[in-house]
């Protein structure tokens, strides 16, 4: 599209922040290199030769995932602020952190990926070559996550994955330099599947709304595979492009499919729009709705259509009753931003806290050392209890939370959208490390 071509040439408001980062980076005082016998690799040691370390962040600030991208960005910003000041919460996750990471203040640049892989890769390539980014992050689209995985491996720069639900991210497209904290298609299906069978019974027919890229296809496949074990069949699978402006034709197929349950795999604004239109077409009156990969803010944006709906998620703020670190995070986040954090912000915050911990444990920013610190697979704290990263595929083994939309009369405040039904331990949800074809690649 001309639209896209020109957009790539002209930057938007992210340009200002990026430019500020670039100028800031260029003004850094020249400092002597580390007295370190590690060979140079990627942006190491050039990227940390001064008093700062730079992180490249690419999130969608426009397009169908913009709302979730902004929330994710807030999580990153809060984590960087906490790391730089040695906040109490960060110290709970990364005890060796004092101020900054290994004494280096974290700086960052932000680019708008618009959930498009090419835009994210271009922005991160810029951060790597011009700012010597020591770590990059981005997601809110698995297509972006997979593309950045490959960039990270090629450039030997660690990629701490943002929101990404595809099995491929730590499956067939996994890389040595990439790490993912959040839940994904397989664990979502394994966690919410039993709840669906328990609530709706065996041998049901499901209709799927699937976005047409790696996230959608793998989540739908995982759901189909799990539910087939309980005799469920697929009545129809409606595959729509990302950012479809209208779902009427897909929903007519769903309405005529004879399905008992509508499984909406769409995400971001696509999920909001398709859910609203499902209501308009009477689909939600005929069948139950399930959202296997919960979408931050969907309850608010659909104006109550999530009431009674089951969803699997990475985090819901009311678990603070069980997890003290979640309570600390909620309070800090709400104080800064004025609302309860959703799971995009949680994933962003924890991912950075874990990365800071691994750097501190490695005692170096040297990427192979940091990777090996992750690969020790030691049990470490998160906002949802103890977790660990698998050395075989770099996937964090962490609980999945099943929520159910509350009726309006039961809401205790305007953000009390869900009841936490179950917190499913992570280990039981994981596939075998090689089940999705992961081959990590080399360290150097």
């Amino acid at each position: 599209m001309t639209d896209d071509l020109i957009r790539r040439g002209l930057s938007r408001r992210g340009l200002l922040q990026t430019t500020a980062g670039l100028i800031g980076g260029s003004m850094l005082p020249a400092m002597p290199a580390f007295a370190d016998d590690k060979p140079a690799i990627g942006t190491y040691p050039a990227g940390v030769s001064g008093s700062t370390a730079f992180i490249g962040i690419s999130v969608p600030r426009t397009g169908t995932y913009a709302v979730q991208g902004e929330d994710e960005l807030k999580g990153y910003q809060l984590a960087i602020e906490h790391i730089n000041e040695g906040h109490e919460l960060i110290k709970k996750i990364s005890p060796k952190t004092s101020k900054g990471v290994l004494g280096k203040e974290l700086k960052f640049g932000v680019a708008d990926s618009a959930a498009k892989p090419n835009e994210a890769v271009q922005a991160q390539q810029r951060f790597i070559s011009e700012n010597k980014a020591i770590m990059i992050t981005g997601g809110t689209s698995s297509a972006v996550a997979v593309a950045l995985n490959k960039l990270a491996q090629r450039e030997h720069v660690i990629f701490v994955c943002g929101i990404s639900g595809s099995n491929d991210t730590t499956g067939k497209d996994c890389v040595r330099y990439g790490f993912r904290q959040n839940f994904f298609g397989q664990t979502a299906a394994a966690a919410i599947g039993p709840v669906m069978v328990r609530e709706f019974g065996k041998g049901k027919k499901a209709a799927y709304l699937t976005p047409d890229y790696t996230y959608g296809h793998t989540v739908t496949k995982s759901m189909q595979d799990f539910l087939a074990t309980a005799g469920w069949t697929t009545a129809t699978n409606q595959v729509a492009p990302l950012g479809a402006p209208d779902y009427s034709s897909y929903l007519l197929n769903v309405a005529n499919s004879g399905a008992d349950v509508l499984i909406n795999v769409n995400w971001g604004h696509d999920a909001v729009l398709s859910t609203q239109q499902a209501k308009q077409f009477g689909v939600l009156d005929k069948m139950k709705l399930v959202v296997p990969y919960q979408v931050p803010f969907i309850a608010r944006e659909t104006g109550g259509l999530m009431q009674g709906v089951y969803a699997a998620t990475d985090y819901w703020w009311t678990i603070e009753d069980k997890f003290p670190l979640a309570k600390m995070f909620n309070e800090a986040f709400e104080k800064k931003y004025g609302y309860k954090p959703e799971w995009g912000a949680e994933n962003a915050y924890v991912s950075f806290a874990h990365w800071a911990r691994m750097c501190e444990e490695a005692g170096s920013f040297n990427p192979p050392d940091v990777i090996k610190a992750y690969e020790k697979g030691e049990t470490i704290p998160s906002l949802v209890g103890d977790v660990h990263y698998r050395p075989e595929d770099h996937q964090c083994v962490r609980p999945v939370i099943i929520v159910k939309g509350k009726q309006q009369k039961d809401m205790k405040n305007k953000e009390d959208w869900y009841d936490v039904v179950e917190i499913v331990p992570g280990e039981s949800l994981m596939q075998k490390p090689d089940a999705f074809g992961c081959h990590l690649g080399d360290y150097t």
């Binding site: 169908t64 913009a66 902004e70 047409d212 950012g243 009427s248 005529n256 729009l273």
Partner: protein, 291 residues
Amino acid sequence: MISWPNLVSQLFNGLALGALLALISSGLTIIYGTLGVLNLAHGAMFMIGGYAGFVTYQYTGSFILAVIAGSLFVMLLGVVMERTIIRHFYHRPHEDQLLVTFGLGICFVEIIRLIFSSQSQIVPPPALFQGITNLGFMFYPTYRLAVVGIVAIALGALFIILYRTRLGMIVRAGIEDSVMVDSLGINVYRVFMIVFGIGAMAAGFAGIVNAPVVSLTPGIGDDILVQTFVVVVIGGVGSFPGAILGGLIAGEIISVTSMFNPGYAYVMLFAAMTIVLVVRPHGLLGVQGRE
């Protein structure tokens, strides 16, 4: 899932979808046909119509006032845009026109994002048109049925303006040969301003009428703009009847293809556009040689 009930449902839905595309595209094609300016801010104007109506609805609770306010606001915006910026680009290369309207579109989207954030905003349909209607062969949202009627009336009004008034005669003459119109002593630039305002108003009107069908986001116009261009290319650039025909064809292609394989709905739309460009480069109802 091919069955007669589903086929009839999809054909009907294609009609409803196509009607809306026709309305948005008509504004774009009239502007291009008369002024020779391909307005890439047209999607943004569609979006602003929705937001202007949304604000009005928030304050008044009246959907009718929201439609009026959304349409008039965008018409005014179009007139101001034409007077202050677009008129300086009439004699500039097409590339400059594309860039300036594209830039304006980005500015409009980001201003709206700054004010309203990216979160979805909802405009409920008027009470009269809420709920679902049983058509015998299908259940269909009542408001979408109403939209077909509303769009038909709006297109009828545009038709009367273009084909039954002196202004319309001048506009159509301008589409054919603006130099000749100018030499006949008609202030063609004043006509251009009016046409730009009417074209913008069509987008704004469609934006607020469409608002209860979708949820408003700043990027809503970007999504629809691509389809709108496809409609204009299929129907014929500068042709008002072509926009209607193109809209209906596009709506039917998207709807019917999705019945066979939803993943190919938009592929088929672009395939149809490609075929039209190859077989009839000026579009189905366009006139050869018209720029």
